[in-house]
Structures are given as structure tokens and as C-alpha cells.
């Protein structure tokens, strides 16, 4: 059994990793009784968490197949990633074979973001560059979305997927969002409203959300990632930006090792 632990910045990233894991037959684990005992310590047992009735229980999302077992934790921001990894690795009785970290580079230099996280991780040998996976134990890699090179976020990748899977819808969404001016006070009533939209990735995020809203009206983008063709469409899966992420996830997961073990047995 190959086990891997992914820590990502937000819930959208969780769904992207989950979709790409599904390409290897991994399915979401719904019931505690079906969960690999290896991960049991990561499941909170009390509610409300920290007395907060509104807060989501910080349980990882689990995926499993016959040969793989994966937990994905949403850390809620780059500043929390290292401490989440350290707490989890201490809580578990043994370390998983793979550790993958996904973050974005919306408002910072890619290399600097990568170095910040790598230097804080409790593990050694996190690969030589963003997106590379070290060959130590565990195998560790830190991926900076969208492509380990350009500044941006997950939505940059999703929009490229939409060009293949939903070109007409994407064109409409862009036609609506692109002309909007973040400084137009007749649209945005205050600084808080214009805040996220005025960020570098603001328009790209809004465009991806528009596409998702048509596909799954009233639902969040993460539901659309699960259900729609963003990362199912054959041409989307063959995009360089997606193939690069798939290679990273496969390396952390140890897909080659598992395949070798299967073919030799």
C-alpha cells in the first residue's frame, strides 16, 4: 500500500488533487468504517470545534483504491502549511511514503513562495525546485500553482481547462468579466467588495466561477470541479499545465513504484 499526504491551501485545491487521483482509480472515502486505519488519528471526534458552531470540522478528505491511500488537508493558507505537516506527522504512528504540498503564487514570486514553505517543512529533501519531488523517505515535493513558473492561482489552470472543455461558456464569461473595472464605484460599493476582485487573480477567479455557476448553479466551484469536465475532458488532461501537475501527484503518490510492484508480482 502506497500512502501519501497532501497539504493544500484551500478546498478548491483539494478537489483538483482528488480529480487527478481519480484517474488512478482512487475514490473518496465517505465512511469512517472504510477509512484506512493509518489515518484514523486525523479524524476529529468533537463538535463544535474550538467551540465555534460555524466552523467546518478540520477533517482531511480521504481517497483510496486497492493500492493507494491518500489524505488531503486544507491548511487554510501558506502560513499554516508547515505546522499542519509537523502536527500530522507527529500524530500519525508512522509517516506516509509521500508528502505533497500545493500552494499558489498569486501575489508573490514563485521561487520565494517555494523556498518559504520548503525551509519550514519538518522533512528533508523536498526536491530541487518548485514541482520537483525529492527521493528521500518520505518523497516530498512542493508545487506552486499554476505551473511552478508563472505567478497565478489554481484558476489560471482551470481557465485553460475550460478552453478545452467549455470554450463557448468561457468566451461568454470572459466577455462579461473582462470589461469590469475594479475601481468602478457604481459596481463595487466599498473597499471590501472590490478587494478580492482587484487582486491579480481576481478576474480569472471570477471567470472560472462564472463557468462553474452555469454548470452547477448555486453551487461552489469545488462541486463543479468534482462533477464537470474541467479535469475529465481528454484534451484538458493533455494540457501541459495539467500534465505537469499530474506528474507531480503521481511522483508523490509513487505511481511508478506501485506499477512496478504490480507488474513484478
Amino acid at each position: 500500500m502506497e500512502r501519501a499526504y497532501f497539504v493544500v491551501e484551500g478546498p478548491h485545491d483539494v478537489e483538483v488533487v482528488g480529480r487527478l487521483l481519480a484517474l488512478h482509480g482512487l475514490e473518496r472515502v465517505k465512511w469512517l468504517a472504510d477509512l484506512d486505519k493509518f489515518w484514523t488519528r486525523l479524524v476529529p471526534r468533537t463538535f463544535p470545534h474550538q467551540g465555534d458552531l460555524m466552523r467546518r470540522i478540520p477533517v482531511p478528505v480521504f481517497f483510496a483504491s486497492e493500492g493507494f491511500s491518500v489524505a488531503i488537508h486544507s491548511a487554510g493558507g501558506i502560513g499554516n502549511i508547515a505546522s499542519v505537516v509537523e502536527a500530522t506527522f507527529t500524530a500519525l504512528d508512522e509517516e506516509p511514503q509521500g508528502l505533497g504540498v500545493l500552494l499558489d503564487a498569486d501575489d508573490d514570486d514563485v521561487k520565494r513562495r517555494w523556498e518559504t514553505v520548503v525551509s519550514a517543512l519538518p522533512t528533508k529533501d523536498a526536491g530541487s525546485a518548485p514541482g520537483a519531488v525529492g527521493q528521500g523517505t518520505p518523497r516530498v515535493g512542493v508545487y506552486v500553482l499554476p505551473d511552478n513558473d508563472t505567478a497565478g492561482t489554481l484558476e489560471y489552470l482551470l481557465v485553460q481547462c475550460a478552453e478545452k472543455a467549455y470554450p463557448k461558456l468561457l468566451k461568454s464569461a470572459k466577455a462579461w468579466i473582462d470589461p469590469l473595472d475594479p475601481n468602478d464605484e457604481s459596481i463595487f460599493k466599498n473597499a471590501k467588495e472590490r478587494g478580492d476582485f482587484s487582486k491579480p487573480a481576481g478576474k480569472t477567479k471570477a471567470i472560472a466561477s462564472c463557468v462553474a455557476s452555469v454548470l452547477r448553479p448555486g453551487k461552489s466551484i469545488q462541486v463543479s470541479i468534482q462533477d464537470n469536465q474541467w479535469l475529465r475532458h481528454p484534451e484538458a488532461l493533455e494540457l501541459d499545465v495539467v500534465k505537469q501537475l499530474r506528474r507531480f501527484i503521481d511522483a508523490v503518490l509513487g505511481v511508478d513504484r506501485a506499477t512496478e510492484a504490480q507488474s513484478s508480482s
Binding site: 478540520p58 505546522s83 499542519v84 509537523e86 502536527a87
Partner: protein, 393 residues
């Protein structure tokens, strides 16, 4: 971090533990882990290391797991030969008894002890010789009232020789090792503390999960405080928890014939807590939680600065709603007194209460499993428990 008696602990071999490292111990150390993981063994190891050449400490280490002397006396002893119990402190292999090897990271040094069964004649009196020979017996096992009046016969009987080496790495060459031989007998004359052992000794006290339930035991400990002129410390501690506590007193049962010039003899005096407004309340009438808190206060009043307080199953007797306040009180008192705490628990609520009541820098949690310790600093424990809700036990 402030100085502590045990900055680290390395148990190379003791009971079932092998090569266990507790690194960077804190002022308050919580030990968690499954049944039979060795949590209580760690407390026993600390107890021995604190005073390795005191026969009473070896006796105490044996008693930690038993109900003696709290209940077994009533039922004619536990049936477990105490030398057998003592022998089981040593690691057992197939037909062999290995050496105890425990290293403290601080002033307590390092002990290596071996055990050998012998048959012989116990001495009439305990012996402590200048040459490092200590010979003593456990308390006479009193099976029935008649035995109390029988003179112990001098018989050949089994004993246990414990060869103890004390090692100090930081001392100059030639002064790094002291060697003692201790001979302990099952019966015969008790050590009873009449012979003082001047060799290394760290102030230490131990609370078992049941000791607070024995009125006699609590009364004995308060009497000890009284003799040592430390009772006021225990009262001051209790007052921090309940401002209405006035005093701890031993009270005889009420003498109904109060007009008589000479009071009637009756049952033994029992320990009472005097409260402002409520008067004297016998400890036996109190709830489990208050008795446990009283026990903690009495033990803490006994331990000197630089010493260690050991607590097995710290949550026992207390409702979850008071855990935070009691732990906060206890740990603050330990901090003020300069006393390090090692405590075991099975309770996640106790872990969370510790996190709520104690500064992160004072707290360390170790999860023990198969002689390996996973260390959570207070800060890491807060992420694991408060942020992620993980199971750390």
C-alpha cells in the same frame, strides 16, 4: 525554558521499556499511549532515578501498581510476594533477568542496576555501611492479628541483591562512578526510614490513581507535613482552589460523655478540612475530586524546589468541567514551587484542559508506543488538538 530536574530521560532498559528517549522534557510532561505502553513504568523509572540507593524508593516503585497498603491489608495482603514484584522491575528475557539502565539528563545522573536472587538470613536490623552496603527488609506482612505479637523467627529465606552503579558523566574522571549493593528481604525488620541514606536524592512525590481514596494514607501524609512544618504550604495551595479552606486537622470521633474528665478511647482520629462557615468536614465525606485535589496539594507541599511530582492518571476523580481549573492551579503551583511534573492520562479532555490552562512553553506531551516516544511541544500540541482536532493519544 526554566531549569527542570529531568531535562531528558533515556530508559535503556526498565520493565518492558527498551531504549526509550524522552527528549527536551518540559516543566509539565503528559504521557499518553495505549494500555501496557509503559506510561506508569516511566513514572517508576523517574522515581528510582530520583533516589536510587534508598530501599524505600524501590519499595515505593513496587507499590505504585498495587492496592497495598491501601486495601490489601484488609484482605490479608495481595498474595504477590514483594520480592517477586521487585524483580519484575528488571527486564526479563527467556530465563534471565537483565539490568535496569536509566539515564536522567540532569543532576540525577545515570543508574545501572542488576538483580540476583539469594537465600540467606535477614539481619536483625537494617544496615547501611560506609562501604556502600545497604541491607533492609520490606515491611512485615501482617496476615492476621496474632502475627502482630509473634516474634519473627530467624529463618533462612529468599532475598534479592541489587547491585547499583551510579554514573555521572560531567564529573572528573575517577569520581564518575559510585557503587552500592542493596540486599532486600521479604520479611524481617522493616527499613521504616530510621536509617538515613545520604547519597543522591531528588525530592519526589507520587500520586497513584487510587491513593487519594485512602483516609489513612492522606492522614499519614498530612502528619508528615505537620512534622516537617510544611502543613501551611498545603493549606495555602488549597486556599487557591477554595478560598474558604481554613485548616487541615486530625479529629478524634466525638466523645459523647463530654462531662468526663478523661475522654473515652475510640476510633483513630481522622483527617478533616476546616472550612470558613461550614466548620469541620471529614475527608471521608468529601467527593473524589476534592480528595484528589487535596492529595495533590499535600504532595506538592512535600516536594522541595527542584523536585518532581509524579501523577498516574491525572484525570481520575474529576469531572471534566473542573479539569482546566484544577490543572491550571496545579501547574501554576508547580511552577511557583520549581517542581517538574510527569503525569499520565488516558483522557483527551485532560489533554485539552491542560492546553487551555497551561502556557504552551510549559507543556510537553509524549505518546508512548512500543518503547518509542512521539514528542509534542505545547505549540505543536495546540496545532494538533486545537486547530486540527487530531487524536494524539
Amino acid at each position: 525554558m526554566r531549569p527542570v530536574a529531568f531535562p531528558s530521560l533515556h530508559i535503556q532498559s526498565f520493565r518492558g521499556l527498551r531504549d526509550l528517549h524522552l527528549e527536551e522534557c518540559g516543566p509539565v510532561n503528559l504521557l499518553v499511549g495505549g494500555n501496557n505502553s509503559g506510561k506508569t513504568s516511566i513514572l517508576e523509572a523517574v522515581l528510582l532515578l530520583a533516589s536510587p540507593v534508598d530501599p524505600r524508593q524501590w519499595e515505593g516503585a513496587v507499590d505504585l501498581r498495587t492496592t497495598w497498603p491501601l486495601a490489601d491489608v484488609r484482605f490479608g495482603a495481595s498474595g504477590v510476594a514483594r520480592l517477586d514484584a521487585l524483580e519484575w522491575l528488571f527486564p526479563h528475557g527467556e530465563g534471565t533477568i537483565g539490568a535496569i539502565d536509566i539515564k536522567g539528563g540532569g543532576p540525577v545522573g545515570h543508574i545501572v542496576a542488576t538483580a540476583e536472587r539469594i537465600v540467606g538470613e535477614p539481619p536483625g536490623e537494617p544496615i547501611v555501611s560506609a562501604e556502600g552496603l545497604i541491607e533492609a527488609s520490606f515491611r512485615v506482612r501482617q496476615r492476621n492479628q496474632e502475627d502482630l505479637f509473634e516474634q519473627p523467627e530467624t529463618l533462612v529465606e529468599p532475598g534479592l541483591v541489587i547491585d547499583i552503579s551510579l554514573l555521572w558523566e560531567h564529573r572528573p574522571v575517577g569520581e564518575r562512578q559510585d557503587r552500592f549493593k542493596m540486599v532486600l528481604w521479604e520479611t524481617g525488620r522493616s527499613f521504616r526510614g530510621r536509617v538515613r541514606v545520604s547519597k543522591p536524592r531528588l525530592s519526589v512525590a507520587f500520586a497513584s490513581p487510587i491513593s487519594h481514596r485512602s483516609d489513612g494514607y492522606l492522614a499519614t501524609r498530612v502528619s508528615r507535613l505537620l512534622r516537617a512544618k510544611k502543613k501551611h504550604r498545603a493549606i495555602a495551595l488549597l486556599q487557591q482552589l477554595d478560598a474558604k479552606v481554613v485548616d487541615l486537622v486530625m479529629v478524634s470521633p466525638e466523645d459523647f460523655d463530654s462531662g468526663s474528665a478523661i475522654p473515652r478511647g475510640g476510633a483513630a482520629p481522622s483527617l478533616h478540612v476546616e472550612y470558613e462557615g461550614a466548620g469541620l468536614v471529614p475527608v471521608h465525606a468529601m467527593g473524589d475530586g476534592m480528595r484528589r485535589a487535596l492529595h495533590f496539594a499535600v504532595l506538592l507541599a512535600e516536594v522541595e524546589s527542584g523536585g518532581v511530582l509524579l501523577i498516574d492518571e491525572i484525570e481520575v476523580g474529576m469531572h471534566t468541567s473542573v479539569l482546566r481549573d484544577v490543572f491550571n492551579w496545579l501547574c501554576q503551583a508547580c511552577r511557583d514551587a520549581g517542581v517538574q511534573v510527569f503525569a499520565t492520562t488516558h483522557s483527551l479532555e485532560a489533554v485539552d484542559a491542560m492546553l487551555e490552562g497551561i502556557p504552551d512553553e510549559d507543556l510537553v506531551l509524549y505518546r508512548i508506543r512500543e518503547s518509542r516516544a512521539r514528542r509534542f511541544s505545547g505549540e505543536l500540541l495546540r496545532v494538533s488538538r486545537a486547530e486540527l482536532g487530531q487524536e494524539v493519544r
